[in-house]
């Protein structure tokens, strides 16, 4: 009985982390689907989102505004605005000039950008980790007895609901809106879409902005969940999210969601049954194994190399 409860608890924890990973993974997968590059600086954009949210929350507290929905909403909006602007600027400065060159050139540029942004925040805000106030406290008891309680906290519920809303909105946007249709067209064939009068530069910028906005949402949520942020906050999370994107099949949006959830569960199970220190090892090993044996991921389409 206890084993089952423990297992369910790990499952809930894993799904929480996993859905946040999925939000970040969307940014990787959309960018890869359209221009075929790994946006290495995406994790830093997520980190900047978390910092901005924290700044907004502390600023509001200083102003004496404490009504939770307002605080969360303002923090969310600030984080989304700053991160999206960052995403737009990064694409403009570091990626657009090198688009279409040899594969490694945009990647090195992205690594440079990632180092730059990490140190930008490090210099501006200090390298120590800063506590993130727990705005949403408490939780629901689902079962169990005195020895072990199965519970789900409100913050976990918030993460589920927010992720669900964001994902649904994104799916609707991609499938129904004009811009979403243009996105799909560009990801199928950039040159052809260009010929048909789609402003591909605008679509690519839009992709970066959407990815960055979702990463900012994840930044706020995971900042509250973990309870602290530091300038290296984005590096590992970015790698994990990239793993999730590859796991689900890079370029595929449902794949990113699936990959995020699987990765989250795998991690929670590792820290629950083995040791928390090895959870990073598990996710990196998973990444290596998937790339070796099924580089297209679970839902991805095989890439045909044209000569």
């Amino acid at each position: 009985m206890h084993d089952l409860l423990y297992f369910c608890q790990q499952l809930i924890n894993g799904l929480t982390i996993g859905s946040a990973y999925a939000l970040i993974a969307i940014g990787y997968t959309m960018v890869y689907g359209i221009i075929g590059m790994i946006n290495f600086a995406h994790g830093e954009i997520y980190m900047i989102g978390a910092y901005t949210a924290l700044i907004a929350i502390t600023g509001l507290a200083a102003l004496g505004i404490a009504w939770l929905p307002i605080v969360l909403l303002v923090a969310l909006i600030c984080a989304v605005i700053v991160s999206s602007s960052m995403g737009w600027a990064v694409e403009r400065v570091a990626y657009r000039p090198v688009r279409g060159r040899h594969r490694l050139i945009p990647l090195i540029s992205a690594i440079g950008m990632s180092i730059f942004l990490q140190n930008y925040v490090h210099l501006a805000q200090g390298s120590r980790n800063i506590g993130f106030p727990a705005l949403i406290e408490g939780g629901l008891r689902l079962g169990g007895d005195e020895r072990f309680q199965l519970s789900i906290s409100w913050i976990q519920i918030t993460i589920f609901i927010t992720t669900f809303i964001c994902m649904s909105a994104l799916s609707l946007f991609i499938s129904r809106s004009r811009l979403g249709r243009a996105c799909r067209a560009v990801s199928q064939d950039l040159g052809m879409a260009n010929l048909l009068g789609i402003d591909t530069n605008r679509i690519i910028s839009a992709t970066f902005v959407i990815g960055a906005a979702l990463a900012a949402v994840a930044g706020l949520l995971l900042g509250m969940y973990y309870g602290s942020v530091d300038p290296l906050f984005g590096f590992v999370a970015g790698l994990k999210a990239f793993t999730a994107a590859v796991l689900g099949g890079i370029g595929s949006i449902p794949g990113a969601m699936l990959g995020g959830l699987i990765l989250g569960i795998a991690e929670a199970m590792t820290s629950g049954y083995l040791s928390g220190e090895y959870k990073d090892v598990i996710s990196f090993s998973l990444l290596i194994l998937i790339l070796l044996f099924r580089p297209t991921g679970l839902l991805g389409k095989p890439e045909v190399e044209k000569i």
Partner: protein, 422 residues
């Protein structure tokens, strides 16, 4: 047209404000358990405003400015000159290398102990960068976990010496070969991956090695690291004040000179110099051998190279293994120089620095990489107040290099024959 560019410029200016102001202008300060937000000083605010105005003005007059730049380029007399004849260029390069080595040989006897120590570090970075240059520059395989092989070399020496008392000279080849073995074992499955996937896999591998070193406390001491790594000996002569190993004699007693701690530092420097020169010469030779040619062929066009009968795995694996070998070399020297190692020295940032050196120097170009290694290591030491901006500047430099000059500052030139009158 003007209205459009004004709108665009305004947009860019506002974006600059948005990305700079909250992070730079509002500082989070922890006070006990609570945190508060403080505005930054007036200088930062002014800087943010100036940045926004500069971006605005630049975007407003962008077209005209770009036109001017082209005029400037035409004025540059060096822009369109004929490249030097090959024979002359190679002679110049050789003279440059010999001069560099001559200066490096005399150098430690003229300067202070601290400078020699720094120079040893520079030489270690030169070895690392030359090794990575084979993998990234020549074979075109982006390896983001290069530091893992460096760690394998360093930890091999540290563990062998602390468990079995193996000396530096024994550990040097063992460390390098073990690192090469790691490269071979890792490379074998992953090298069929495409460029950017390979980069991520090697990054993951580097992180796994670091996490293992950090958590395998019983073997590696975990985050506490391993200390008491012995110094190298010269034909059994030790450089310490007292002899540690049995049957050894000390350097200063043998030659009847007073003990000085500088001997050891200079000796280490000379070892590093010899190894760095060895690395450079071996790689230089390899570059001109068939294997080196096939690295470049595979980098330029994989499909064409394979259709000419090159084995993709074999060629890539050789580059990967050779790169790892020299990283192991450098790792052993590093462990000996520090006397103490811990997983802290082998983080991803270290890989990024080595990659930055290779990228800045010019991928594939040996002289360029050596000069870049010297510059990247020494510049932050020369300007101390500037040191905390080091990584910020590296990052920015990597982006700018990729945008403006992806071939590097001193690009590699290959021997070629030009047909006249075609």
């Amino acid at each position: 047209m003007m209205a459009q560019s004004f709108r665009h410029a305004l947009f860019c200016g506002v974006i600059t404000l948005i990305i700079a102001w909250p992070i730079l202008g509002l500082k989070l300060v922890a006070e006990g358990t609570s945190i508060t937000v403080r505005g930054a000083d007036a200088f930062t605010w002014a800087a943010v405003a100036v940045a926004a105005v500069v971006v605005f003005t630049f975007q407003l007059f962008r077209d005209r400015l770009m036109g001017r730049l082209e005029v400037l380029q035409a004025l540059n007399p060096l822009a369109n000159r004929e490249p030097l004849p090959d024979a002359k260029r190679i002679r110049l390069e050789n003279i440059g290398m010999v001069l560099l080595i001559a200066v490096a040989l005399v150098w430690p006897f003229l300067v202070s102990r601290g400078s020699v120590d720094l120079a040893t570090l520079v030489l270690i970075y030169i070895m690392l960068a030359l090794g990575l240059n084979v993998v990234v520059g020549l074979a075109g395989l982006l390896d983001l976990g290069y530091v893992a092989f460096y760690a394998v070399g360093a930890y091999t020496f540290a563990l062998l010496s602390s468990y079995w008392g193996v000396s530096f000279w024994m550990a040097l080849p063992i460390g390098a070969l073990l690192a090469a073995l790691f490269g071979l074992v890792l490379g074998f499955p992953v090298l069929r991956l495409r460029g950017d996937y390979l980069a991520i896999v090697t990054l993951g591998f580097g992180e796994i090695i670091r996490i293992l070193l950090n958590n395998w406390t019983s073997l590696t001491g975990g985050p506490n690291g391993i200390g008491g790594i012995p110094d190298p000996t010269l034909f059994g002569m030790e450089f310490g004040r007292r002899v540690r190993g049995e049957g050894n004699v000390s350097f200063h007693e043998t030659f009847g000179i007073p003990y000085s701690s500088e001997h050891k530092v200079i000796f280490l420097y000379l070892i590093a110099l010899v190894l760095a020169v060895f690395t450079a010469l071996v790689i230089r030779r390899l570059m001109r051998m068939p294997v080196g040619r096939s690295w470049e062929a595979l980098r330029e066009d994989e499909i064409a190279a394979r259709s000419l009968g090159l084995s993709r795995t074999g060629v890539k694996l050789s580059a990967f293994t050779i790169g790892a070998f020299f990283a192991g070399f450098a790792g052993t020297v590093f462990a000996s120089k520090q006397g103490f190692i811990s997983p802290e020295s082998f983080v991803f940032l270290e890989s990024a620095i080595i990659l930055a050196i290779v990228v800045l120097g010019g991928m594939g170009s040996q002289l360029g990489v050596i000069l870049a290694a010297i510059a990247v290591t020494i510049l932050p030491e020369l300007a101390r107040e500037f040191a905390e901006y080091r990584m910020l500047i590296f990052g920015a430099a990597m982006v700018l290099m990729m945008v403006w000059r992806p071939q590097g500052l001193l690009p590699m030139r290959r021997r070629h024959i030009k047909l006249k009158g075609v």
